[in-house]
């Protein structure tokens, strides 16, 4: 696996870090994602495993992680890009990996990240959704549930220190 990573580094010129288990990670610029994935597909990363979005709200970025799998070399590669949280637009990879279409649909819906060029960014799971995309960190589920279903939220009560009476 390590040999393959060095070879891959030489061919593509990408800075790949080997990590635990069968994984390696790679950070590229937002603009280069299409080129990188095209290169990697040529190198034999045929399986598009999944696409994850992580909301780093403190740093005002969304991190997109493209998970690719090389069947022969047994390498799971995480390609990470950072995009601006306020203008989340990135180019689609659904023409490179056809299944990415579904994952992009999901990320668009859950995080509001726009994928330029994806032909099918229609609503996926949610419908008639008027709030901010729900998987963003600033979407407060407890508030939403309170308004929607009039249930009580006891989190504060549970973790309220009982010894406040001694203050």
């Amino acid at each position: 696996m390590s040999d393959f990573i060095t070879r891959l580094k030489n061919i593509t010129g990408l800075n790949i870090h080997k990590e635990k288990l069968y994984q390696a990670s790679l950070k590229v610029d937002k603009e280069k994602i299409r080129k990188t994935l095209l290169d990697l597909k040529k190198e034999g990363f045929l399986q598009f495993t999944t696409l994850t979005c992580i909301d780093w709200i403190e740093e005002k970025t969304f991190q997109l992680v493209y998970h690719l799998w090389h069947r022969e070399e047994k390498l799971h590669l995480k390609v990470k890009i950072d995009i601006d949280r306020d203008a989340p637009i990135v180019e689609t990879v659904s023409d490179i990996y056809i299944v990415a279409q579904t994952y992009e649909r999901e990320v668009k819906e859950m995080f509001g990240v726009d994928f330029k060029g994806n032909k099918r960014l229609i609503p996926f799971i949610l419908e008639d959704w008027n709030e901010i995309p729900p998987m963003r960190r600033d979407f407060n589920t407890r508030e939403y549930v309170k308004d929607m279903y009039e249930t009580e939220d006891r989190t504060e009560e549970i973790f309220k220190p009982r010894w406040k009476k001694y203050d």
Binding site: R154, T155, I158, F159, P161, R162, W163, Y166, D167
Partner: protein
Amino acid sequence: MAWNDILKPLSGWKFLFKKPHTIRYPKEDKIPSERYRGIHTNMIDKCIGCGSCEKICMNQAITMKEMDVEVKEGTTNLRPVVDHGRCCYCGLCVDICPTGSLWLSRDYRHLSEDIDTFIIDPNVKEKEREGWQKAPEFSLIPPERGKMEEIPPEKRVKSFMEVFVGYTEPIAKEEAQRCLGCGLCVDACATHMHIPDYLKAIREGNNEEAVRIMFKNNPLSEICGTVCTHFCENVCPVGIIGEPVAIQWEKEFATRTIEDYKKIIDTTIKEKKERVAVVGAGPAGLSFAFYLRLKGYKIDVFEKYEKPGGMMLLGIPSYRLPRKVIEKEIKFITSTGVKIHTGTQIGKKKTFKELLKKYSAVFVATGNTKPYTMGIPGEEGKDTLQAISFLYDVNTGKKIDLKGKKVLVVGGGNVAMDAIRTSRRLGADVYLSYRRREVDMPADELERKEAKEEGIEFMIQTLPIEVIREKGKIKAVKYVPTDMDFSEKGKRPKPVPRMNDVRTLEVDIIIEAIGQGPDLTYLEQEFGESLKIEKGKPVVDKNLMCSIKGLFFGGDMANKQNDIVSAVADGRRAAEGVHNYLQNK
């Protein structure tokens, strides 16, 4: 397509007369397995109401509700009530429950049209059809506390250096993780220090915040971290399954990381005109002075001895409480503007009445200075020492040589422990006589263990009856073994001496450490009948004010616990009391 394949499916009909594998409920019933996770059951008497189940429950299915139960020490009247509409039957509450009172039964059926009946108060006293139960080896709370480095006994008996080195940061953080955050310790602590809060600060690496939280309730935190009766650890629910959280050592760790408290604790003071006098610069007096000073009053502390610190300084040997710790704390307290007049004994040159005239209020915390004696024949003499005066002599630097001498210490409290270990350090062979069993000893378990390690012989269940003297010097002690009488329930067992089995032990010196009481002679002389005294202690109200207006009592002389932390608590309470009194005057 073979003919065989067309006809083969008919082979299924051979099951026509075989026994089906379904069950005809309710004619037949299936008993769930022994580990089945069914409906909650709680042994309400065993439950201590710590609320860990409520915290671990991911669905908020468990609510702690106040119930009509007997509240013993270290328990609350809260008991879990389970909403089975929300429960997911994961059993995490069972696995975290420190007492093992909560378990899941094998029952799983509950049918009702009323939603409220699904909220079940699991109140069961007898076990029946137990399902998922707590297995001690799979308890979610780590049972062992973080280990602390310790100087070996052979080395430590030779000097008065501190026995414990203290926690290092990683261990302290790990240890602080074991806290359940139940707050039972806060109830138990005399000063109600917010223990879970500062443990949280410690595990987050924020020691300054931790110390700030401590000083809200206890200005002698470092001293309490070093020597304390730690009622908090005694009630800690983690102690039921293993060793309790090392709250005292955590406190010691956090305070020792701070060089100067002045830098981190906000001590800006709005000055007030009133002046308040404090008699006795012990823990009670110092904490009183600190908190009242923070409220803006001008404080004068009068101390009989040359150095402030009271019993902490004079009674506790330096291998347990290093002197620099006391100096650090007192330096911080005086830096707020508290004035300490050392070498000024009230009652002799100045009287209490004078103080009352000069000051708006007077707080008296002179402690227990009058030792009790055994009252046995041959007791009086120069070589029968009182533990407090003995320790006082040692701690003030008086040279006492006990090398090669045989010392008998009588008693089982912490003072006795100090006496035996100090004598041991001075080179004596030490025996300890205690009339009850070892488990009944008021002294710390840790101290007992260390004393044994240091080579001190424990004579458990023995009672000295006579001191044999030769030419005025002690030669031997006659003593008898005792039996325990458990007839009085709820109280400590009574020792019954076996008078026909008299034994003798050759000793050179006897040190009595059987307790002490307050010395109220000066007060009685001055105030006479107007000062109410019961059982040798002045009667005080909830503000700690006695029957004379403006005169407050606190510390060992007014409470029953006779330890530092209660004294500190008294000081804080009295400060509140004095403040209230002066505001409403």
